[in-house]
Symmetry: D2
Subunit: 335 residues, 4 copies
């Protein structure tokens, strides 16, 4: 089978296409023929070598894949050949709170990922694909979608509440879709009128152009009758957190997802105290949450926004496309 | 001003229409001109004398009213004349968990209610009416709607989950509307094809006729792919709780609201253990929850279903109409 | 190796002592030399054939064991030979809410249990034993102790709150110990003065003899200044649930654990509504909860109460002793 | 009656002792004869004029007082003359989540405070004093103690968990006492060996001297077997938050209370994401929480640590003493 790997040099163009025998599933394992994989900002950091100093090289990159079960190992009860599945970002996080061991099972980082024709997953490292989704669509779910879902769930988002999303990246557009499906009002920011229009089509109640309106946090405040939003899906890191703290209501919730944007910098935490705000770091999510998200996706027949699908052989071009920032929605690789 | 009261005899026809001076608001109080009141099953029990042995007679009945602020007492900051408001069922439950003292402030029971032209409320015993609702519509919210809202909130209802509602009473139809606005799937039961059709129009995904399908709990089980519903809004008491325990999923939630239906009887609690089910008694809700509900009502422009509006002078006819069970939705009295 | 099994006939004396080769751990599995096992009421039901109609016979009984790791299978990272461990009641419940699949992994019921010299566990089907506990003490934790821990956790027990425990069975005495370690006040019931004295020694603030005081729920009410207890660990099923509903405070919590006592019968659910009580079915707990419990056991150096230890060869005598009801604390079998 | 006020100039020595008639309680109000008041760091900021630009002058300072009820207004059911009470920091926060209006009822800031011989409170702006506490001890509870209680409750502190406290200020020493009463392990920091010894006497399991051990966060990490603490009571603001983020476990909780220390500065939020940490701003607490805290204080017979009691006439000396930083525990003014 063919697969890509980060062998010993970093950089998109250093990715190597290689070949090895199709692996066999052991006890409690499942062999999946990958049909599509999707890229996240994290994958650019991985390829560039800036994500972690301890990457176990050589490493098969990417965390997000969908495909079909080909063979199950001994003791596997919940899957059979032909099942349409997606892998879980963390192979070892069934449910409950995160623990220190969970990150050790992150695909395409701590362990080999999915940019390959076949991958062996842990039995509980898979979920069923929503029936109405293609493999390309399903491949977008494991990281960005689940992060967005978790971000809303951790703030106990309820019908009638308001959510602030920032920009049009993968997590933000999923947060918009899921917040709408939960009966919430969404206020979104973007720097482009074209993207603003698409955000409105996806269900944003109001869109603020942060270029023409640099003090957008004040506008959020006004749009909520000076009450503030209930929940912020904060993907901008220190660069926007200060403004988010102004836009959120007293007692409100900020889900912090800076790792995906690679943002750094510092912020004054004092306003969080004065407004009794909760800031919750979000790092993808558990299999239990993935399953709950998929039920919402099925019920609402939500379709992820795909910017472009690249063939397997042009995987590097997919990376470059994501890096260009020109996309709206997910960049996918058909395998 | 005119008002009705339960003077010393019980029975709908013993309700007395009387007159007294318009009261004045004291420190921290607000005088409201009542424009509409709504009936609940509880009010039939009150009028009939079967709700409690300790009713403080004479008693102005009814808990649910909407109207406009006429005058505010000293120290009142949040209201001014002209504000459109609804009273809170419990005058003394701002937020947080219920305490033993809360029921002592129940309108139309522990203290005088709202079937009157003017009522003095506690400053925090009022909420703003959603702007798109008439007074008649707003009057339906304090008891039935808030009970339904609380029933869903206590089960942490999330988008993509499934809810079972029983029948077409006030709480059940609000539960259906709110569950839909929260992105949940609703399975409803009823005993009439005509009502089934209306339930579908209001958003029920599936309706089961419990007359033609007496083992409706098995059908619920099948409709959820033998997973069970996530949440039951149980208004039938012991009469249906056994079936609800079969219809709910392992780890699921049953909001128990039997007091409103006057149901009695016994049930075997063992299945709740085997399935790790949570049964939560629901007794209306707090002002904090009322405000959250109103934000959802406003965002989704939800309109309560009103069966019929009676003029103030025909209040007794309204009681008789509710007692007949022929209604679908709320019975309202315009004041 | 030697092991006991329920072969095809039921009854304690039908348990068969048999022999087979020591099993080998597969991928993700761990071989443990069992050093002690403990009995629960559930095991009497299993042996008697009344627990379930679908027991997979022949079945190795018992869910609770402690021992040391002998060998680890491929891919096992968290254990090594020599580790002192206890098995988890459910081999497949890492954390989060229970699902419908979890019971399929119950030791000594859905799958083979631990009354054997060697047992193969799933890698995540083990926890470390608290260092200060013997194997006999550690063997008491998987079912009764974890059930008690979960019962308190599900009610968010906090320092300064009050807990009602019923009788002196395994779950109740652990609930007493854990409630005290959480800074709560414990009111306990028992039918014997001798046991009352032992309950006081273990930390019960008040003990009520339900034989001399059949209306013990009224006494609980008085002891809490007519406020009611915050949490009931209800092991009596329908037989005591009615009284527990009277003893609990408005808004309080009842953890229902009837399955362990085999109780049946019915109860009127209406008081749960009037008092806004939550009744939560408890079915042991997850590995995540087990680990948290063990941290509390270590910090407080809690020692389970062991009534008597039987040698492996006299396992049937241990069953008979438990059945006699004469014990106070856990009945253990040294292997 | 006599009272102190910030009239129009700022600074401790600008506090004015004045006289006015004893006020009378209106509807729903309660007159209390103040017997003791306590100082918080916030009061130094108030007196110095640096807390807020919008202080309503003249202002009676201080938020914390205990005393006895002298007279109740119309409609007051829960209090009677002679009751021993403490005022709530926020006069209008009964329970539930904080809202934007709550801070408008903060004593000694938004509204007149308690450095007076008599104060009129809202009926629900009082709690009963624990019976074993003197007025001086009771006066220390409304701000510092409740903040500490809320800080632990917001992290769902459970028995067996670990808590990190910073220094020996009012909030930190209460957090230590409450964490111990909840069965948690406490690791404390301080800069003085003498204070370290007192922290150990109060129940700290380990104390780290941050002067001799500037990388104290690494020591916390080691003391928890490289797992990290479950909860940090963070009173140091940006100055220590970076270290607290290193000391807390993945998935852990940091209660942020910087407002009390006046800390400013910035911090990199990225580690909160990578470790899935929750940072919760804490701003005192509700009456419901105060009542729960008092039940814990009573059950465990907790006694606040009082550094020194000044007579009413020497109130300014009390301020200066607090400002000196030489205290361990609370500075109180007997009235």
């Amino acid at each position: 089978m063919n697969y890509f790997c980060i062998e010993k040099d970093f950089g998109i163009d250093a990715l190597r296409l290689k070949e090895k025998p199709v692996p066999r599933p052991g006890h409690g394992q499942v062999l999946v023929r990958v049909r599509a994989a999707a890229l996240n900002y994290r994958d650019l950091l991985m390829a560039g070598g800036s994500y972690s100093r301890n990457l176990p090289l050589p490493l098969i990159p990417l965390s997000d894949a969908a495909g079909e079960v080909v063979e199950v190992g001994e003791g596997v009860a919940c899957w059979q050949p032909g099942d349409r599945v997606a892998g879980t970002f963390f192979q070892d996080w069934d449910g409950g709170g995160i623990t220190g061991e969970v990150p050790d099972s992150a695909l395409g980082g701590a362990i080999d990922g999915v940019l390959a024709e076949y991958v062996v997953f842990r039995e509980r490292g898979l979920v069923s694909l929503p029936a109405h989704l293609s493999f390309e669509e399903g491949a977008t779910l494991p990281c960005a979608a689940l992060t967005a879902w978790h971000a809303l769930e951790s703030g106990n988002l309820a019908s009638g509440q308001s959510v602030l999303t920032l920009g049009t990246g993968g997590v933000s557009h999923f947060a918009l879709l899921f917040a709408r499906a939960a009966g919430a009002r969404v206020i979104a920011t973007t720097g482009s009128e074209a993207k603003a229009e698409r955000l409105r089509q996806l269900g944003a109640g109001e869109v603020i152009n942060y270029k023409t309106e640099p003090n957008w946090e004040e506008r959020v405040w006004e749009l909520t009758n000076r009450r503030g939003v209930d929940l912020v899906v904060e993907v901008g890191g220190a660069g926007t957190l200060g403004k988010s703290l102004k836009a959120v209501r007293p007692g409100g919730h900020i889900s912090l997802i800076g790792v995906l944007s690679g943002a750094t910098g510092e912020v004054n935490p004092l306003p969080a105290v004065m407004k009794s705000v909760r800031i919750q770091g979000i790092y993808v999510g558990s299999r239990e949450q993935f399953a709950a998200m998929n039920r919402a996706i099925e019920l609402h027949r939500i379709r992820p926004v795909i910017d472009r699908v690249f063939p397997f052989a042009e995987a590097k071009a997919a990376y470059h496309h994501l890096q260009s920032g020109a996309h709206f929605g997910k960049v996918v690789i058909a395998v």
